[in-house]
């Protein structure tokens, strides 16, 4: 154990560890369970689905509609809201409930959050292990694809079903962009678009991606529906990705939730970008 980790451990033990935690954001819920603080979680967000242990926990609303009454009724001694929930944060502050402010960021930010939550919940040691595990796994993925040609990739995070309309793509920042880079791809909008943005057909044609990688949280899509969505790209037959049949649609919450399962997501990105590479398994 390094000195830094020891210090964190000591600092974590020094604070009053919360016993009743309310987590509103799916990523935070996953991190809390991953670092062993799941037993203290007494309420979770309405959209939280993972891990399975949360199935019976009370739901307290989501990002835009948190239920302040239910939250207070759960008598939490730690609530983790999203930083944009200013009304909720003000109300909880007035109620004297301790808060941990969270917001999505980059891939390294996930590790920072894991460690900070570890400190805050008195599980700094376990959190450090989890963070290092994630770091090691991500490094292994990066290692596996290193030296390979990096396909120029269009990372689509939303569009209208069945057609190439209202296409939202990942720009050159954020954890999904980081996952793409780590998995051995080059974001076509790196440098030109920051964060996620709606892009035009013209922009896509001009970008001429080698690979189109689409991610959807919704796991209910059947293989035939996925095939139909992929076929929608035939509207732009000239894209190298379409000509070379390199349009991939991946579904699953591990692709869109910046929590510990991001390792799985990054591995799936790598598998899609470099199908011939053998990825390390754990």
């Amino acid at each position: 154990m390094t000195l830094a980790a020891s210090l964190i451990l000591v600092a974590g033990l020094g604070a009053q560890a919360p016993q009743r935690i309310v987590s509103i954001i799916p990523a935070v819920t996953e991190i809390l369970f991953a670092i062993g603080a799941g037993s203290e979680v007494v309420g979770v967000g309405s959209y939280d689905q993972f891990p399975p242990e949360i199935a019976d926990l009370p739901r307290i609303g989501g990002l835009i509609d948190p239920d302040i009454e239910t939250i207070i009724a759960l008598r939490p001694d730690l609530v983790v809201p999203y930083t944009t929930q200013v009304d909720l944060i003000a109300q909880l502050g007035r109620a004297g409930i301790p808060l941990f402010h969270y917001s999505h960021g980059t891939l390294p930010d996930i590790l920072t959050t894991v460690r900070q939550l570890g400190n805050r919940t008195g599980r700094a040691h376990r959190a450090e292990e989890v963070a290092r595990g994630i770091e090691a796994d991500l490094a292994a993925i990066a290692e596996a694809v290193s030296g390979r040609p990096r396909p120029r990739t269009l990372l689509v995070i939303a569009r209208e079903p069945g057609s190439l309309r209202n296409v939202f793509a990942s720009g050159g920042s954020g954890f999904q962009h980081d996952m793409l880079t780590l998995a051995g791809g080059e974001n076509v909008f790196d440098g030109s678009v920051s964060r996620a943005a709606q892009v035009t057909t013209e922009t896509i044609l001009q970008a001429a991606p080698d690979v189109v990688l689409e991610v959807r949280a919704d796991q209910s899509l059947s293989p035939s529906e996925i095939a139909r969505e992929v076929a929608a790209w035939q509207a732009l037959p000239s894209l190298p990705a379409v000509r070379n049949s390199r349009v991939v649609l991946l579904t699953g919450s591990d692709l869109v939730i910046p929590g510990p399962r991001i390792v799985q997501g990054a591995a799936r990105f790598a598998g899609a970008l470099h199908p011939d590479v053998t990825l390390p398994t754990r």
Binding site: Y47, G62, L63, I64, D65, A158, R159, E160, P161, G162, S163, L164, R165, N166, F189, S192, V193, A197, Q198, V199, T200, T201, E202, T203, L205, Q206, A207, A208, A217, D218, S220, L221, E225, A232, A235, L236, P237, S238, R243
Partner: protein, 356 residues
């Protein structure tokens, strides 16, 4: 003031008209107006595909020696820009004329193509598909436009049924009230479903509601064309009767207008054009109210001139707005509905202020 039926003295303040034999010809005014506004629409259609964030060489666009698949310039021109400009023309023309017709039918200058719930119905249909992924694709047409078209026609049907149910004839008052009520009702359902849907889908619905012309192929245009064509054929039968309807239905009927039939055709055609336009582009606001008023200001209120002029000006205006939408912040696209409202809103206010 005494009656002077045979004296040709002018009333105070109005100069006597020396050109008593001045030529008044609707045909000539129509030709003049149409050539002006038509040119505008044509110019917008020709120029819009030449403008964009990516420089393209026209020589390469039309160079048949380069295979289309390898010709990015041609692809940008024929896949990204030309269909957009065409869609903009059709949607702009449809919404502008539908606005004229609804305003005449309801005898209300504040009516828009969306007043009678047609767009709320379309939005509900689109939202249900986006949220629940209903399999409503028909003959290669994606589910969202199909569902929004069904939603718009269903809304029009409900409003029409309510306006005709209890009376012999069509009550425009009931039409207006039923439409406004249905609008709020559908909006409530939309909000309710959005509230229980996840964030990404809510966001997509909201984005659809802002309107978008990036059709990325000719296929959606071809699908919408028969509906819009039908609506425009019906529009063509309306102008003179609509002129008379603006004098009130008693005046119109007394001059030989079949008022009920005119109202029916007006309602159906305007609803059809609106439904088709909204299914092609999402609800794009302001065109249906700004363009008709602007045209009336320029050419008077005769519907034989107002309707074709509105079609041309609506087309040109929307195509121009769309050029701004796709270039202003390129490569990121702005919602075209934002541009129409940002330019149309202040302009409309200026119009209101300067009118006596």
């Amino acid at each position: 003031m005494t009656d002077r039926p045979h004296a040709h003295a002018s009333p105070a303040g109005v100069p006597a008209d020396p050109g008593r034999t001045r030529i008044f010809s609707v045909r000539r005014r129509l030709a003049l107006t149409l050539s002006g506004f038509g040119c505008l629409a044509l110019v917008s259609l020709v120029v819009a595909p030449l403008i964009g964030p990516t420089p393209i060489a026209l020589g390469r666009v039309f160079d048949s020696a380069i295979p289309f698949a390898d010709n990015v310039d041609a692809q940008i021109f024929f896949i990204a820009r030309l269909p957009r400009a065409l869609a903009g023309m059709l949607v702009g023309a449809s919404l502008a004329v539908a606005g004229v017709v609804f305003q005449a039918l309801l005898r209300n200058p504040l009516a828009t193509p969306f007043t009678l719930g047609v767009s709320a119905g379309a939005s509900l249909g689109a939202m249900l598909v986006i949220t629940f992924g209903l399999p409503m694709a028909v003959a290669g047409i994606p589910a969202v436009p199909v569902a929004s078209l069904i939603g718009s026609l269903a809304a029009a049907g409900v409003v029409y049924a309510m306006a005709t149910l209890r009376r012999h004839g069509l009550s425009t008052t009931v039409l207006l009230l039923a439409g406004v009520t249905l609008n709020s009702f559908f909006s409530a359902i939309i909000m309710f479903v959005q509230y229980s849907a996840d964030f990404a889908k809510t966001f997509q619905t909201v984005r659809w509601l802002m309107g978008n012309l990036d059709v990325s192929s000719f296929q959606p245009i071809v699908a919408a064309l028969p509906l819009m064509g039908t609506a425009f054929v019906m529009f063509a039968t309306l102008p003179r009767a609509l002129n008379l309807l603006t004098l009130g239905s008693d005046n119109a009927a007394a001059r030989g207008v079949d008022v009920l039939r005119t109202q029916r055709v007006a309602f159906l055609s305007a609803s059809l054009a609106t439904g088709a336009a909204v299914s092609l582009s999402g609800p794009i606001g302001f065109i249906g109210i700004v363009i008709p008023h602007l045209v009336r200001l320029l050419v008077g209120a005769d519907h034989r001139i107002v309707m074709p002029a509105s079609a041309c000006l609506g087309a040109a205006f929307l195509v121009a707005c769309d050029v701004v939408a796709r270039t202003a912040m390129a490569p990121v696209e702005l919602p075209v509905g934002v541009i129409t409202a940002l330019t149309g809103g202040p302009f409309f206010l200026w119009l209101l202020m300067r009118r006596p």
